[in-house]
Point group: C2
Chain length 400, copies 2
């Protein structure tokens, strides 16, 4: 705060804040915006007029009103017209989607992938092809305002390069640059670690709305973590923070793809579960994990024992995170949703033993509210973020 | 940012910012303040005049100047007149100090303590007695602007109560309230976890100046952690974050004071080291730890093996933290200074094995620049924080 922000800076800030309200909260009446934002009615009117002129929102009469008097106009995001492209690259599948302002999935494409090293040529080409298919179906009066991508690997904050993605055998991969080049939309591609983006999505429009301290755990083949600390995503010095899967919890234990042993993801990952259940080498992926949970439900003793042991390691790792971060909520996403649902008692019991009573007393454990789209929706939020920070500037850049 | 801050709010913010500059950076010329704060000369003059009138700083001609022309006046904090009381309660010692603006220790008292349950009556009485002794020696024109305390335990953010301090057998202890009552200065006592405050001190005036991602590890009998994430202290939902000592790294390992087994502090703490070195049950504390390091230096094979094993666990825990937080710097304080100096090669080797290459590539490992005063200085910073946030308001409260 030097000499204080100018009127113009304040206006731009407020435009972003209003747009964020309707983007995350959905259609909202002017009266509600007035009270929530602490601004007066005429300011809200002026801001709404600016956003309407820019094509970002529109105002409508409410469908029904129970109050007497003139109803307050409702401000809606222009979800069908203003959108981003969001991509999600996991070990077993890739997703591309067109997501409208307000977080509406307008269109999507998905493909299963083989567990082979990530192919720049073929797989980035596939994602770009999906985007082109979806683009052909858009109307002329629509505008793409950003592109975001989630990748199952460690992403450098400085340049968006995927530095390491052991489960996809991807190292030093300029994923965003390459995808941006192939899309040819003249927009940069913002890239983030999938679990980090899952955490952002849960905080924005999932279970973590209003939470300042949240951990999102994403199970794919490995385990990724996204940690929100004091309202902000933990990135660390260069963006690699939150690599919970490589916390060693069992020294000398199972070998991990990172080269170490006894990492959390080695003890809790898909392979450990399938091996313990006597099912390794047959099916893989979510279906295989669900099959173990189902078998345990049906009384299969080996599946039950596998779940018990993996659930114990899962609980131990969560207990460590509870001691380290004192989170309000831990969200299980991806494969960990299934695993947690199958082993919740074991997980809770281990947390009760190993987490400090004060640190766990208000803890909530939940499965992701966004289901398998948490990471994809996080990529969309990443793509929208610059529009919400300064809507007019962002639009000017897009249309120039 | 509603309608934007008022002129008065901006002025108060700038007063705090200027005071923070000279508090943390020492005497600074007006010319330098002008350039560092991005404000014009007349604003700096006005702010300095206000702070001078309030008795917080004074202006002086520089002792020497090499430049031609009129020398720029130097703004100095009124270290001898404006001070806080800082307290530090560890397992083996208690410290009380009078710390002047600018971080100058003006006076201090220290007492060793026995390893017995913390006694409210006797020990808080002792600390208050220290403060009274120091108070009697102050001049009449001095003013105490705050009181801060570091405690080796988990402290609730909401009310400053020590919720758990297993190594001091302290639970649900209203330490700040009780100390404040006995001091009778009419000022509240701000309390924080000792390692958290050590992290703040290292960030403010130690090795972490300018660092946004720092971990301070404090070895006492146990291990505490203070984690700075993106420039902010990690507190978690209720203030208990950073309990790195209770991260389980060796399931089924040594019993820990928290009731669990294989916690980091159980594997790395003083007891583990002394037991492995065949010296448990004799001396305890820092001297005993240093004796093991010295013995290893002199070729004592059992001491060397003890250091190697404890150093390995120390490195494993740091590797986990590196994967979780991607810090720029890890600072070893308290007993861990000695331990790290005695086992640095082991620690580094383990980090090289277990931390992800990207996460550790720019990592620096250091021993505390503030030595055994890191936690005490953190308590002082906590006490000064409201003065730096709004100097005039804070002074008005003190003098009313």
């Amino acid at each position: 705060m030097r000499a204080g922000p100018s009127q113009e800076e304040i206006r731009r800030h407020n435009l972003g804040a209003l747009l964020r309200h309707v983007h995350l909260g959905g259609p909202t009446s002017r009266a509600e915006l007035t009270s929530r934002m602490g601004l007066n009615r005429s300011t809200i009117m002026a801001l709404t007029a600016d956003l309407t002129a820019a094509g970002l929102v529109r105002e409508e009469l409410p469908r029904q009103t129970r109050r007497a008097g003139r109803p307050s106009l409702v401000v809606r995001p222009e979800s069908a017209k203003v959108y981003v492209f969001a991509f999600d690259v996991g070990v077993d599948r890739m997703v591309a989607a067109r997501v409208g302002l307000g977080g509406v999935i307008l269109d999507r494409r998905q493909v299963e992938r083989r567990r082979e090293p990530f192919s720049v040529e073929e797989e980035i080409g596939r994602l770009a092809g999906f985007a082109r298919q979806m683009l052909r179906k858009t109307r002329e009066d629509t505008v793409c305002v950003g592109i975001g991508a989630a990748f199952a690997g460690g992403v450098a904050r400085a340049d968006g390069v995927v530095r390491f993605g052991p489960n996809l055998d991807a190292y030093d991969l300029p994923f965003g640059e390459e995808l941006g080049r192939r899309l040819g939309l003249g927009l940069p591609v913002a890239v983030g670690n999938d679990a980090n983006l899952g955490a952002l999505a849960e905080q924005s429009r999932g279970l973590g709305v209003g939470c300042r301290d949240l951990i999102y755990l994403h199970g794919d083949v490995g385990i990724g973590g996204g940690v929100i600390v004091g309202g902000q995503l933990l990135g660390g010095h260069q963006g690699y923070g939150g690599e919970v899967g490589h916390m060693v919890i069992n020294p000398g234990g199972r070998p991990c793809g990172c080269g170490s042993k006894g990492c959390w993801e080695a003890e809790v990952g898909e392979r450990a579960l399938l091996e313990l259940a006597g099912r390794f080498g047959k099916k893989t992926g979510r279906e295989a994990v669900r099959a173990v949970v189902d078998a345990a439900d049906m009384g299969d003793a080996q599946a039950q024992e596998a779940l018990r042991r993996v659930g114990d390691w899962l609980g131990l790792g969560v207990a460590n995170l509870v001691n380290l971060f004192n989170p309000e909520i831990v969200v299980f996403g991806g494969m960990l949703r299934d695993l947690y649902l199958g082993a919740a008692a074991q997980v809770r019991s281990r947390i009760a033993t190993d987490a400090l009573p004060a640190s766990r007393e208000h803890l909530r454990l939940r499965t992701s509210a966004l289901g398998d789209d948490a990471t994809l929706m996080g990529a969309a939020e990443l793509a929208f973020s610059h529009v919400l920070a300064d809507p007019l500037e962002a639009l000017a850049r897009v249309s120039s």
